[in-house]
């Protein structure tokens, strides 16, 4: 039976189990949208901007573990995806992005809304391809889903010219996917696991370092079981947070630039670093030569290229985290080291993460309430100080999810990602923590949240500054707040250090903004109102709620490791 390209497109999507597609139409995607209009299995969500669209698909994928699907038009529709593609790829989120393209005979002519999107995205996605022949359409889409979700998940872009969308052709929907250049690893080297477990047994000061890979492979239960057996302290990266309950007796905290004192000290002093599913990004290692200088390092990662790239490793193991942890469990023995645990507890007592201004409406108190109200929910963050505070203060159990742009650090991620998360997991409560800067980067998606009738709670930590950059200016640039004050007007005098004095009012008024979108707006200025604000927001089941918290403008994220310093050289107080 012959079909139009658009019909084949929809049929493959259905067979891949796609239930939600994030789409924004345009001239070279209109036929695909027309085909989607005729069916009921796939719900099409219309965000207000393609960047918001792809972050929403990203949030959907992170919340559900399924592949997020985007469909946009050629040219500007496609280029608006770029930031979102890099964001998802850096955090190993499975996405398939379809872009419309001008007809084949027009490609290369600088036709209206023509861009070489495959060329533009080549270095930031797992695979990108233009369909050049109608007979390849079905196979390419099937392969796209397979590549996106297997191995180290990532982004695949499929560019479909208009004439291919319209061309009639025969399709084989049942052909098995087989790609000769792509055979993801599906086993684990047991000899290496055995060697690693023997080293763990012999170690006097062992620690586990858990990255996002454990959550990606859904190995939280297996990890907790393993830690209960071996009784070795666990440190997480930002992406790995929540792999094990933060209340677990062997959980120490986060590593890295804004990690806890005890965690960073433990890494610096350990004699065995057992790392799973992390790529040793520069934000967690600090100065490489000072990273875990006394340790033998074991590294399990699904991607061979992540191993021994940043940190030289003694025992490399290429494997999926869950598979490896299960193999470890079979050989696990109690490796508890009394004096080592005492030392870590000592560091924990020596310095606890706390705000500099503990009075009033401080970030830790707001996040504490979020931990209470959303103990089964999904917490989404944007990027900035509020994100770091969330990773520091949020108490998590493995049923909770924390969705955050860890690798690329994309401001504007939070709001749309929360929309995608709620659409993917409507039974879960979703809360988004954002700053006043990042919130405005994709603020147009408030309309999407309202029209999709999503009762998401958006918390804005408003300190009137681009706080993360302001903090760096505060610490290392003699408080020269160059382009970081969001209340600054053209008539303001230069070089102002006069915080809060005679400053112009903040724009926009987030409460009025919420109301103009048809959402609920709540402003919280005092500590005593935090709880009631969340209660009110959670009772609002019909629309999203914005809670604006006006927090101290010059609060810092501490501890911090200054640039070029090692993990044990952090600044604890200012």
């Amino acid at each position: 039976m012959k079909r139009k390209g658009t019909q084949a497109f929809v049929e493959v999507l259905k067979r891949e189990g796609v239930d939600i597609l994030f789409g924004y139409p345009g001239g070279y995607a209109i036929d695909l949208f027309d085909e989607l209009y005729k069916q009921k299995d796939i719900e099409v969500i219309l965000p207000r901007h393609e960047q918001g669209l792809i972050h929403a698909a990203d949030g959907y994928a992170r919340a559900t573990g399924k592949v997020g699907v985007c469909l946009v038009t050629s040219g500007p529709g496609a280029t608006n995806l770029v930031t979102g593609i890099a964001t998802a790829q850096y955090d190993s989120v499975p996405l398939v992005c379809f872009t419309g393209q001008v007809s084949k005979h027009l490609i290369g002519n600088d036709a209206f809304q023509e861009v070489d999107i495959v060329g533009i995205t080549r270095s930031i996605c797992k695979y990108a391809v233009t369909v050049r022949d109608r007979k390849d359409l079905t196979r390419i889409i099937k392969e796209a889903f397979y590549i996106a979700r297997t191995g180290k998940p990532g982004v695949v872009l499929v560019d479909i010219p208009k004439d291919i969308q319209l061309e009639m052709g025969e399709d084989d929907f049942d052909a098995a996917v087989s790609i000769r250049g792509y055979k993801p690893n599906t086993s684990v080297h047991l000899g290496q696991i055995k060697k690693a477990m023997e080293m763990l047994e012999k170690a006097k000061r062992p620690v586990f370092l858990i990255g996002g890979g454990v959550r990606l492979s859904k190995a939280e239960k297996e990890l907790t079981k393993l830690i209960n057996t071996v009784r070795v302290p666990v440190i997480t990266t930002i992406m790995g947070k929540g792999s094990i309950s933060t209340d677990h007796e062997f959980y120490v905290g986060n590593i890295g630039l804004h990690g806890s004192y005890a965690s960073n000290m433990a890494i610096s002093e350990c004699d065995l670093l057992f790392s799973i599913g992390t790529r040793f990004n520069d934000r967690i290692t600090g100065r490489i030569s000072g990273f875990a200088p006394k340790a033998k390092i074991i590294h399990i990662d699904i991607e061979a290229a992540s191993i021994s790239r940043n940190i030289k490793v003694d025992v490399p193991i290429v494997s999926d985290a869950k598979l490896a942890i299960e193999a470890m469990q079979e050989r696990a023995k109690d490796c508890y080291q009394n004096s080592w645990m005492d030392q870590i507890k000592g560091w924990e007592r020596e310095h606890k993460i706390a705000p500099q201004n503990p009075n009033g409406l401080s970030p830790d108190k707001i996040i504490h309430e979020i931990s209470e109200f959303y103990s089964n929910g999904i917490v989404v963050t944007d990027v900035g100080q509020h994100q770091m505070w969330t990773t520091q203060y949020l108490r998590m159990n493995p049923t909770m999810k924390l969705l955050t742009s860890g690798g690329l650090g994309t401001m504007g991620f939070g709001l749309p990602a929360a929309i995608g998360a709620k659409l993917g997991a409507p039974e879960k409560e979703v809360v988004c923590i954002s700053g006043d800067g990042g919130m405005q980067m994709n603020i147009q998606e408030m309309a999407t949240a309202v029209t999709c009738e999503l009762p998401i709670v958006f918390c804005i930590f408003n300190n009137s500054y681009l706080g993360m950059v302001r903090e760096v200016q505060h610490l290392y640039y003699d408080r020269r707040y160059s382009s970081t004050c969001l209340r600054c007007t053209r008539s303001c005098k230069k070089n102002c250090f006069d915080k809060n004095k005679e400053c112009p009012p903040y724009s926009p008024d987030f409460i009025k903004l919420a109301e103009s979108y048809g959402a609920l707006g709540i402003r919280v200025m005092e500590e005593k109102d935090i709880k009631s604000a969340f209660e009110k927001a959670l009772n609002n089941k019909k629309t999203p709620t914005i809670i604006e918290f006006t927090i101290e403008t010059e609060e810092l994220v501490l501890p911090i490791i200054p640039g070029g310093k090692a993990l044990n050289e952090m600044i604890l107080e200012c």
């Binding site: 495959v118 060329g119 080549r122 270095s123 797992k126 695979y127 391809v129 233009t130 050049r132 590549i147 790609i179 000769r180 250049g181 792509y182 991607e303 061979a304 290229a305 021994s308 790239r309 030289k312």
Partner: protein
């Protein structure tokens, strides 16, 4: 830093060369030469790549290339016996008879072939190892003022294994 060789089997498709060469520019790897041509299977091309790198970087390059969907196989040629040649065209522009016969002699010694000539110069073709071609160019550029060099980049293939002989 050391000069190293590898071969890649890749899908014979549009964009694969851009993807492979993009890796070198994007990650600041030092690419010295890259050649590509179809194999006995027209759907597969083979690339011969030469890089300047240390051990760790070379390992990383191989892993990164292996990750590409379009790359079917990476062959490290560092410690394997290989046959490797590069084609070189060398124009020596001189009307002087004595100089032209000198050029002839050089060509003979270096195993090259004079394939064309006119009143104002000769054209030499040389199928040699890259190092030998380097030597030839070095010498010729000292002896003659007006030369033109076109190099093809090396192609390499593994030797037939000892056990087969």
């Amino acid at each position: 830093m050391k000069k190293r060789w590898m071969s890649l089997y890749v899908e014979n498709e549009v964009g694969v060369l851009a993807r492979v060469s993009g890796l070198f520019s994007g990650k600041c790897y030092n690419l010295r030469s890259l050649t590509v041509g179809e194999t006995q299977d027209p759907t597969i091309s083979r690339m011969t790549i030469c890089v300047d790198s240390d051990d760790a970087t070379f390992e990383q390059i191989k892993k990164q290339l292996n990750q590409f969907i379009e790359v079917i196989k990476v062959v490290d040629l560092t410690n394997v016996p290989v046959h490797m040649k590069e084609i070189l065209y060398l124009k020596i522009l001189t009307a002087n008879d004595k100089e032209r016969s000198f050029a002839y002699r050089i060509s003979e010694v270096f195993g090259g072939k004079v394939v064309d000539m006119g009143r104002s110069g000769i054209l030499m073709e040389c199928l040699q190892t890259e190092t030998k071609n380097d030597d030839l160019i070095r010498l010729v550029s000292k002896e003659f003022t007006n030369i033109e060099v076109v190099r093809g980049g090396s192609v390499a293939i593994e030797s037939i294994s000892i056990s087969d002989r």
